[in-house]
C-alpha cells in the first residue's frame, strides 16, 4: 500500500464569493481561481508601431503592429508583421511574420507617451487633412516614404532611423531630454492635444477589447504607457501601469516633469548676433529642495520624477482627473527599467538617486514596488566582467550574464554612432547601475537617513522592451527577429544589435488571471522575472519553518507561517534565525534542466558597510566562466545532467539580528546556446562555438566573389564575438530566474 502524507488543501478553487483581493472591477470571478495562487506569466514592457522609435524603424501601425495586434499576438490568435526584406540571405518570410510559441497570460503595452501627439497626427488618428500631417516630424516618423522591403538597404534604413531618432528626441532640447515638445507640437498645440488623446483612447480601447472578462480569464490586459524621461541621454524610464479601466485622462509624460518648461523653441533666439537663444532656460540654484534631485547648475528644464508621482497621486489615486471607467477607483504603479543604462552621468543623478528626505523616500517606495531586472537591453541585476576579472561592487561570477559594454542608452540603442564603443571597466559603472547594489544601498539609507524607510525596497519583474510588438515571445534560437525593427533585421551584424538579448517574463503569483488579482500581486511584490523561459519558482521565508519542508505542502505552510517572495519577515521570535524554503521546477516546454538554485543575501554590517553573499542551496556548482563547456560545440546540444526540480530548506548560518538584510533567489538553468549563436550557425554559416575557425569562415564569405556571400558576411559581422573581447557576447548562456527579495528588518 502506498502511504502518503495527506494534507488538506487550503481554500476553494472556484465559485469564490470573497476573493483575496479588492474587487474594483465588479467582474465575474475566474474558473482558474486558486487561493494558493498560480504563476501567471506576463509582460510589463512592450512597444508597438505606436512608439515613435519603432515607427522610425519601419514597424508599421497600419500593418497591425499596434496594441491590439500585440495583444492578439500574445494570445496566440494571430501573427504580427515586422519590417524588413524577406526571401534573401536565408531569412524566410515567416521570420518577419512570427507567431508566439505559446500564449501568454497577461500583458501591458507600454508605448512611449512623449510622442503620442506626433504619432496621432502622423498615423492619421486625426485624418489625412491634419495640418501637421505634412511636417518634417511626420516625414521622419513615416520613414520618409521609404519601404524597406522594396528599395531600402539595411544600412540606409538604419541611418534614416538613427537621424530621425536624434531629431525627434533632440538631446538637449527635445521631449524626452529637456522637456520641450517638438516644433510640430509647439506650433500646433491644440491639434497635438487632440492627437495625443486619440492615441491614448486607442490604447485604452485595445486593452478593453482584448481583456477576457468572462469566467474563462484567458488573458488580462492593462492600460499602460512608458514615461520616457531621458535627461541628457540618461535612462530614467518608467512604465506606468494602471490597475483597471479608470485611468488618468491624459498621460503624465516626461514633458510634464520639467522643473519648469522650456520656453518654446519657436520664440526667441533670433535676437541678433551673439545673443543666446532664450529657450535654453535658467539654471537650478544651489540647495533648492523644491527641485531635488536636479543638481545645482543644471538647466531647470531637467525632469523631476516627483512631479510624475505627485500627479499620479492627485489625478489617479485621489481620483481628481480620471476617465469615467467602470471600476470603483484608479490605482497605479510605476516600474523603472534599465538601471544598467541609468547610472549617474555628468550632472544627471542615477535613476536611483538618494531621496531628498523621508517623505521623498516614502513617495518612491509607494509608487515603485517593482524594478525591471532584465530585458532586451541586458541584465540589471549585477555586473561581473570576466575580461577585467572584476565586478561592480561584486565578486559574483554569475553576474557575467547579458552585460552591456556601455552605460549609455544611445550606444545600447545603436543611435548617433553608438556602435563605436569599447569595453568599460566594471569600476567605471556607477554602483547604482545594478539592482543588487541599489537594494544594498536601500538598507543603508533606511538605517542612516530616512528613519527606517527603505526607498529601494522593490521586487522584480523581467521584461522585453521589444519595439516589434512581439509581446511575451523570447525565443533563444534563430527565430529571434531582433527587438528594434529594421535596425535588428540582422541582429548579429553590429555590436549594438548582437548585445541585445531576447528579453524575459514578469511572473505574478496571483489567485486568478484578472486585473485586480494580478495588480495586487505586483503591488505586494509576489513576483519573479525570467530571462525568457518559464520555470516555476516558489520562495517563502519565516522563523519557525520545519527544518525539512520540501516533501511537505510547503506552500500552505509558507503562506500560513511565513511570507512569500516580496514580503517582510514578521517580528522575530527571540533567538530565532530566518529559515527559507525554495523550490524550482524546470520549464518542461523548453526542456532545459535546472543547474542550481541560489540565495543571495545583502546586508549592512555592524560598521555600516553593505555586504553580499551568494549561497548555493541545491544542484550543481556550474562553471560561470565557461558555460560553453556544458554544450556539445558542434551541435549546440546540452550535455547530460541537470535537474527537473530542485528544493531546499535553508537557514541563514550568518544571521545577525541587528543587521538589516534581504534575501532573493536566483535559479540557473543548464547552459544553452544563445540566440545569436543559433543565428550565426543557421543563417550566416559560421560557428561562434568554434572560435578558431569562426573568423576565418567569416573572412572567406567576405572575400567571396559571390555578392550574396559578401552580404552574408556583412550581416553576420559580429558572429565571432565572445566573452573575451569587444563586444561582450556569451555564445552560451545560462537562462535564469530572479525572485523578489524577502526583507528582514531588526526590531
Amino acid at each position: 500500500m502506498v502511504g502518503f502524507a495527506t494534507i488538506t488543501f487550503l481554500g476553494a478553487s472556484h465559485a469564490v464569493d470573497h476573493p483575496a483581493f479588492e474587487d474594483t472591477e465588479g467582474r465575474v470571478r475566474c474558473d482558474n481561481y486558486s487561493a494558493q495562487r498560480q504563476a501567471f506569466f506576463g509582460a510589463t514592457h512592450l512597444h508597438t508601431g505606436l512608439s515613435f522609435d519603432a515607427s522610425i524603424r519601419f514597424v508599421s501601425v497600419s500593418s497591425g503592429n499596434n496594441p491590439r495586434g500585440a495583444y492578439q499576438f500574445a494570445k496566440g490568435e494571430s501573427s504580427i508583421t515586422l519590417p524588413g526584406s524577406t526571401g534573401i540571405q536565408g531569412i524566410p518570410a515567416d521570420l518577419r511574420q512570427p507567431m508566439i510559441d505559446r500564449p501568454l497570460d497577461w500583458g501591458a503595452v507600454t508605448d512611449h507617451s512623449e510622442h503620442f501627439a506626433e504619432m496621432g497626427i502622423c498615423k492619421n488618428f486625426l485624418g489625412p487633412e491634419a495640418r501637421g500631417r505634412r511636417s518634417l516630424e511626420c516625414r521622419m516618423i513615416n520613414g520618409h516614404g521609404y519601404m524597406p522591403q522594396n528599395n531600402l538597404s539595411n544600412l540606409l534604413a538604419r541611418t534614416l532611423a538613427s537621424n530621425a531618432f536624434t531629431q525627434l528626441t533632440m538631446w538637449g532640447l527635445g521631449p524626452i531630454s529637456r522637456m520641450t515638445r517638438t516644433p510640430l507640437c509647439e506650433s500646433k498645440p491644440s491639434e497635438c492635444v487632440q492627437a495625443e488623446l486619440a492615441v491614448w483612447d486607442e490604447i485604452q480601447s485595445a486593452a478593453r477589447d482584448e481583456y477576457d472578462t468572462s469566467s474563462e480569464c484567458s488573458f488580462t490586459t492593462f492600460v499602460a504607457y512608458e514615461n520616457t524621461s531621458t535627461p541628457l541621454g540618461s535612462n530614467w524610464h518608467r512604465n506606468v501601469i494602471f490597475r483597471n479601466d479608470r485611468v488618468v485622462n491624459q498621460p503624465i509624460t516626461a514633458i510634464d516633469m520639467a522643473v519648469s518648461l522650456n520656453p518654446s523653441p519657436l520664440v526667441g533666439g533670433l535676437k541678433g548676433a551673439g545673443v543666446a537663444p532664450s529657450f535654453i532656460g535658467d539654471f537650478v540654484p544651489a540647495n533648492d529642495p523644491d527641485v531635488y534631485p536636479v543638481p545645482a547648475g543644471s538647466l531647470v528644464t531637467h525632469p523631476l520624477p516627483n512631479r510624475l508621482w505627485n500627479r499620479l497621486q492627485r489625478e489617479c489615486l485621489d481620483n481628481e482627473n480620471t476617465t469615467p471607467g467602470d471600476a470603483t477607483r484608479c490605482d497605479v504603479i510605476t516600474i523603472p527599467h534599465n538601471t544598467n543604462l541609468g547610472g549617474a552621468v555628468g550632472l544627471v543623478p542615477a535613476l536611483f538617486y538618494d531621496p531628498f528626505n523621508t517623505a521623498d523616500a516614502e513617495l518612491r517606495a509607494k509608487f515603485e514596488p517593482l524594478v525591471e531586472i532584465y530585458q532586451d537591453k541586458g541584465s540589471s541585476e549585477c555586473r561581473w566582467d570576466p575580461r577585467f576579472k572584476s565586478g561592480t561592487e561584486t565578486s559574483d561570477e554569475f553576474c557575467n550574464f547579458e552585460i552591456l559594454d556601455s552605460a549609455s542608452l544611445t550606444s545600447a540603442s545603436g543611435v548617433g554612432g553608438g556602435d563605436e564603443g569599447s569595453e568599460t571597466a566594471p569600476e567605471d559603472f556607477d554602483s547604482r547601475s545594478y539592482v543588487r547594489n541599489i537594494w544594498k544601498d536601500g538598507l543603508e539609507l533606511a538605517d542612516t537617513q530616512f528613519n527606517g524607510v527603505n526607498p529601494f525596497k522593490m521586487g522584480v519583474v523581467a521584461g522585453s522592451d521589444s519595439h516589434t510588438g512581439v509581446m511575451g515571445w523570447h525565443p533563444e534560437n534563430e527565430d529571434w527577429p531582433g527587438h528594434l525593427g529594421i535596425d535588428d533585421l540582422f541582429p548579429v551584424s553590429r555590436p549594438s544589435t548582437i548585445q541585445n538579448s531576447s528579453g524575459g517574463h514578469g511572473v505574478a503569483w496571483a489567485e486568478e488571471n484578472s486585473r485586480d488579482s494580478i495588480f495586487e500581486a505586483l503591488k505586494r511584490k509576489e513576483t519573479y522575472g525570467t530571462s525568457g523561459t518559464r520555470p516555476i519558482v516558489r520562495f517563502f521565508g519565516g522563523w519557525d519553518f520545519p527544518r525539512k519542508m520540501c516533501n511537505t505542502d510547503f506552500v500552505e505552510t509558507g503562506y500560513r507561517d511565513g511570507v512569500p517572495m516580496g514580503g517582510d519577515l514578521p517580528a522575530r521570535p527571540s533567538g530565532a534565525k530566518p529559515r527559507f524554503v525554495v523550490a524550482a521546477w524546470m520549464d518542461d516546454f523548453i526542456g532545459t534542466p535546472l543547474e542550481q538554485i541560489q540565495i543571495i543575501k545583502g546586508w549592512v554590517d555592524k560598521n555600516g558597510k553593505t555586504q553580499e553573499r551568494v549561497y548555493r542551496l541545491a544542484g550543481d556548482p556550474g562553471n560561470p566562466n565557461h558555460p560553453e563547456r556544458g554544450m556539445f560545440p558542434q551541435s549546440c546540444e546540452l550535455k547530460p545532467g541537470g535537474h527537473e526540480q530542485l528544493c531546499k530548506t535553508w537557514e541563514d548560518p550568518h544571521f545577525r539580528p541587528e543587521e538589516r538584510a534581504f534575501y532573493y533567489v536566483r535559479v540557473l538553468e543548464k547552459p544553452v546556446c544563445r540566440y545569436s549563436t543559433h543565428w550565426c550557425r543557421e543563417r550566416i554559416g559560421v560557428n561562434p562555438l568554434d572560435p578558431k575557425n569562426c573568423q576565418a569562415d567569416l573572412d572567406i564569405l567576405a572575400d567571396s566573389s559571390n555578392p550574396l556571400e559578401k552580404l552574408r558576411a556583412s550581416h553576420g559581422a559580429e558572429c565571432c564575438s565572445n566573452q573575451e573581447g569587444f563586444p561582450y557576447v556569451q555564445p552560451v548562456i545560462q537562462e535564469r530566474a530572479w525572485t523578489s527579495p524577502i526583507w528582514y528588518t531588526p526590531e
Binding site: 465575474v28 495640418r131 516614404g145 511537505t552 506552500v555 518542461d588 527537473e644
Partner: protein, 309 residues
C-alpha cells in the same frame, strides 16, 4: 449588406425626410487630391492604384459632405468652433494685439470666408457631424433579439475554450525522487484493482500544490498548473476512466477524467455587454456609411481627372 443601423432603429425614413429640394455642387480641388496622393506615396512608397485612388477621393468627398452638413446643422455655433474662428480672426486682424470678443471674432472670420478654408475648423465641424450621425445609433439600446442574432452570427468570435474536469492523485517528485514513477504505477494498479472512487482516491496521494478535485479548466489553465507534458498526455485519456501515471512538472499523477466539454458559445447573459458594445459600434459605422450615401445624393460632385500613377 443591409444598413444595420438604419434597419435596427427605424431611422431611415426620419432622416430621408430632411432632404433639401435644391441640389448643390461639391467640387474637390485638384490640389487636395494631389496632397492626399502625396501622403499616400510617403506612407506606402508607391502611387495608389485606381481603387486606392478612388478610396482617397471618396474620403475627401465624405469630409466635404460632412462639413457642409455640419454647417446646415449649425455646428459652427458650437463653443469649440467659435473659439477656433475667433482665433483665426485674430491671426488676420489689422492689429493682432487687439482684444476681440469671441463672438465678434467668429463673426468676422465667417464674413471673410475663413471658415471655408481653415482645416482645423473644417475638421471640428466634420467630426461633429460624424459624431452626431453615429450618436443616433450609439444612444439606442438594441433589443434582446438583436443581441442574440449578433451572438449567433459571430459565434466563432465569442466561442469559449473547451475544458476538462479531472480528479488527480499526485506523487510528489520532491518527496519521493526516483521512486515517484514506480509509486505512481502501484497507485494506479491499486485504484483500478479496488475500483476506488475518485473522491476516495485523492487521500492516497500527496496533497501538495494542486487540489485533487479541479473545476472544469481549459488546456491553458491545466498547463499552468501541471506543465506541458501533462496536458499533452491528458488528451489521450478517455472520459469517465482512470489513467496514468501521467508525468507533470511536479511528479506523477493518476488521473480520472470526469468530463470534457467541447468549445462552446456562451449564453448571451455572460457576454451581453461585449456584444452590445460591438454591435452598436458596427451599427453606428454602417449607419454613418448609409447616411453619407444619402447625403451624396444631394450633391453634384465634381472630381478632377487625375492619372492613377
Amino acid at each position: 449588406m443591409l444598413v444595420l443601423g438604419g434597419l435596427l432603429f427605424g431611422a431611415v425614413l426620419a432622416w430621408n425626410g430632411g432632404l433639401p429640394l435644391e441640389r448643390q455642387v461639391i467640387e474637390i480641388p485638384r490640389s487636395q487630391v494631389a496632397a492626399v496622393v502625396d501622403v499616400f506615396r510617403q506612407e506606402q512608397g508607391r502611387s495608389p492604384d485606381t481603387g486606392e485612388l478612388r478610396e482617397l477621393i471618396d474620403t475627401l468627398v465624405d469630409q466635404e459632405i460632412l462639413f457642409q452638413y455640419a454647417l446646415e446643422l449649425g455646428l459652427q455655433e458650437d463653443p469649440t468652433a467659435q473659439r477656433r474662428l475667433a482665433l483665426i480672426a485674430q491671426f488676420v486682424a489689422a492689429n493682432p494685439h487687439e482684444s476681440i470678443p469671441q463672438a465678434e471674432g467668429a463673426r468676422r472670420a465667417e464674413e471673410l470666408g475663413l471658415h471655408q478654408s481653415d482645416v482645423v475648423f473644417r475638421r471640428i465641424l466634420a467630426d461633429g457631424a460624424r459624431r452626431l450621425i453615429r450618436a443616433v445609433v450609439l444612444t439606442r439600446q438594441p433589443t434582446h433579439e438583436m443581441l442574440e442574432t449578433y451572438r449567433l452570427q459571430h459565434a466563432e468570435e465569442f466561442m469559449r475554450l473547451g475544458t476538462s474536469r479531472i480528479t488527480q492523485v499526485m506523487v510528489n517528485a520532491l518527496a519521493h525522487g526516483e521512486q515517484s514513477e514506480q509509486l505512481a504505477k502501484q497507485l494506479m494498479l491499486r485504484i483500478e484493482a479496488e475500483q476506488i472512487a475518485p473522491a476516495d482516491a485523492i487521500a492516497l496521494g500527496d496533497a501538495v500544490f494542486i487540489p485533487g478535485v479541479l473545476p472544469p479548466l481549459s488546456n491553458k489553465d491545466l498547463e499552468r498548473r501541471f506543465g506541458t507534458r501533462f496536458v499533452a498526455a491528458l488528451q489521450a485519456v478517455a472520459e469517465d476512466s482512470w489513467a496514468g501515471p501521467l508525468r507533470s512538472r511536479y511528479g506523477y499523477h493518476v488521473v480520472f477524467v470526469h468530463e470534457r466539454r467541447a468549445p462552446q458559445l456562451p449564453p448571451l447573459a455572460e457576454i451581453e455587454e461585449k456584444i452590445r458594445r460591438q454591435l452598436l459600434h458596427e451599427a453606428a459605422d454602417d449607419w454613418l456609411d448609409f447616411r453619407l450615401q444619402q447625403l451624396r445624393a444631394r450633391y453634384d460632385i465634381v472630381i478632377p481627372e487625375i492619372p492613377s500613377s
